[in-house]
Amino acid sequence: MDWLTFAEFSLIGLFGGGLLSLVALGFVLIYKGTKVINFAMGEFMMLGAYFVYTAHALLKLPLWLSIAAALACIAGVALLVERLVLRPLSGQPVISVLMATIGLGAMIHGGVDAIWSGQNLEMPQIVPRQPLLWGDVLVPGSIFWSFWVAVALIAALTLYFRFTSTGIAMRAAASDPTTAYALGIDVRRTQQLTWIFAGCVGAVAGMIIASINSLSPALSSTALGVLAVIILGGLDSIAGAIIAGLIVGWLEAIAVGYFGGKVRDLVPYAIVLVILMIRPYGLFGTRDIERL
């Protein structure tokens, strides 16, 4: 293996890591905002992709409208989940809430299987596929452009949380709900918004991943590898999620390059195992995290 191939795999890995960071961001937003680990994140991703598929391939809507409609639907689903599943469970032990999100994931998974069947479906192309050639290094266009979508989305969210009144209120409610409540902030509403944001972020990642590969219920298992990423980053650190996404993307690509495709799924878990032995609270997170 020469340096050129190494550079190529590294670039593919880093660019591919962008989408992992996006899914990780979905987990972290919900954990920070509501102290819930949402095991149904993969199902949100999957559902977003299926909504786009339905709107575009079956209802023949234009692509941009399909994406907008899919995001609106995901926002609705996130709102329903918050209202019907999470809120009745607020104040219950963490483990009950975790079980509820796992159950929710299974329900969405089964529902998707029943409605759309478990076959592979062809998604419309969302990001350009045209490969980019820099000197002798070749990067698939889909991976390159999906990376920039992830960057744009993460940057937009970061700006929103930093500068808008609603974003600052959401941060306040996440860091100290009692005080936020006393200041007149409607904490329930900010938690609903958190779910909507996280759902939409996950759905965007899901529809792009599905459009690069193909669409099937197996898409949701991507999130499981990403959960490993999040534990690596620390559950409550947005920066940690982004960096960890990139690191794992890179390591996966390098491992695939050197050892072939079969080790790909092994890599994130192996890294996480090692990291957790050294720093059980993640690389960037605070110490008092629920141990699973």
Partner: protein, 265 residues
């Protein structure tokens, strides 16, 4: 012992016959008190007397089993804390409850959050009404809060970098940013040194004298309470054992007993 009926119209906040219990523990038993407009009312009492429970019931974090809380003539016993805040009941907490990692200005602006009307999508775009609203809020905060509390120079610092006394002052600023009708301060000078305590007492007095602010405070520092309060309510074991002017309360036998034990020194 109770305040005269001739002043009934100037009562802005009243707690009437409140009972509050947690399981077998009675935190408050038939507690009544009233806060007069433009005055400083202090709640004092030994540790565990129920002062903070009374505060929590007043601001809506606890719902009393019996009795009611009346704010500006309206029964607010069942109104949620965030709505009471928007109605003009602002409170601070005993410990420093600032949002760490945010700047002083962001913390203070959050106090004015309920005065903003734009929705999350408008906030996302940050144009038109949303922007005008925020700029107007910021201008009014600068005039009425930052300058007044002399924290103009630290507005862009992260709160975690500030001294304890300044953090408590930023908390007061955030409560003021809520544009309150009644300002509720839970131990505003707890843990402060003498200089910081004097500064805080001066700000509280200025608020009352210059702006006619109505203030309800819980305090352990007896010296400060007796210096600045118009009306003092003494709690012990969840009961009101005395209320009146500082001079009346100071010589009340039950109060002396609660604080110093049965025998007078």
């Amino acid at each position: 012992m109770s305040i005269g009926t001739q002043h009934a119209s100037s009562v802005v906040l009243a707690v009437e016959g409140v009972h509050l219990g947690f399981g077998g523990i009675k935190a408050l038993t038939d507690v009544s008190m009233s806060v007069r407009k433009g005055g400083i009312t202090a709640v004092i009492g030994p540790n565990g007397a129920g002062k903070t429970s009374l505060f929590n019931a007043t601001s809506g974090f606890y719902r009393p089993q019996r009795g009611r809380v009346v704010f500006e003539g309206r029964d607010v016993t069942r109104v949620k804390p965030n709505q009471r805040a928007a109605m003009g009941l602002a409170r601070t907490f005993q410990n420093v409850a600032l949002f760490r990692g945010m700047t002083v200005l962001d913390n203070i602006k959050l106090g004015g959050h309920h005065r903003l009307r734009s929705n999350p999508l408008q906030a996302m775009a940050y144009w038109g009404a949303s922007q005008r609203e925020e700029l107007a809020l910021r201008a009014s905060l600068e005039r009425e809060v930052l300058d007044f509390l002399e924290i103009d120079h630290i507005r862009h610092q992260p709160v975690s970098a500030l001294s304890y006394g300044l953090q408590k002052r930023v908390e007061l600023a955030r409560a003021l940013a809520m544009n309150p009708k009644v300002l509720m301060l839970d131990e505003p000078v707890a843990g402060m040194n003498r200089e910081e305590t004097e500064d805080m007492a001066r700000f509280i007095l200025d608020l009352q004298e210059e702006r006619g602010m109505t203030i309800l405070l819980i305090e352990h520092d007896m010296g400060m309470v007796m210096d600045i309060s118009n009306h003092v309510v003494v709690l012990n074991f969840g009961h009101v054992i005395a209320s009146g002017t500082p001079a009346e309360v100071r010589t009340h036998p039950d109060v002396i007993e609660a604080y110093l034990g049965a025998h007078q020194p």
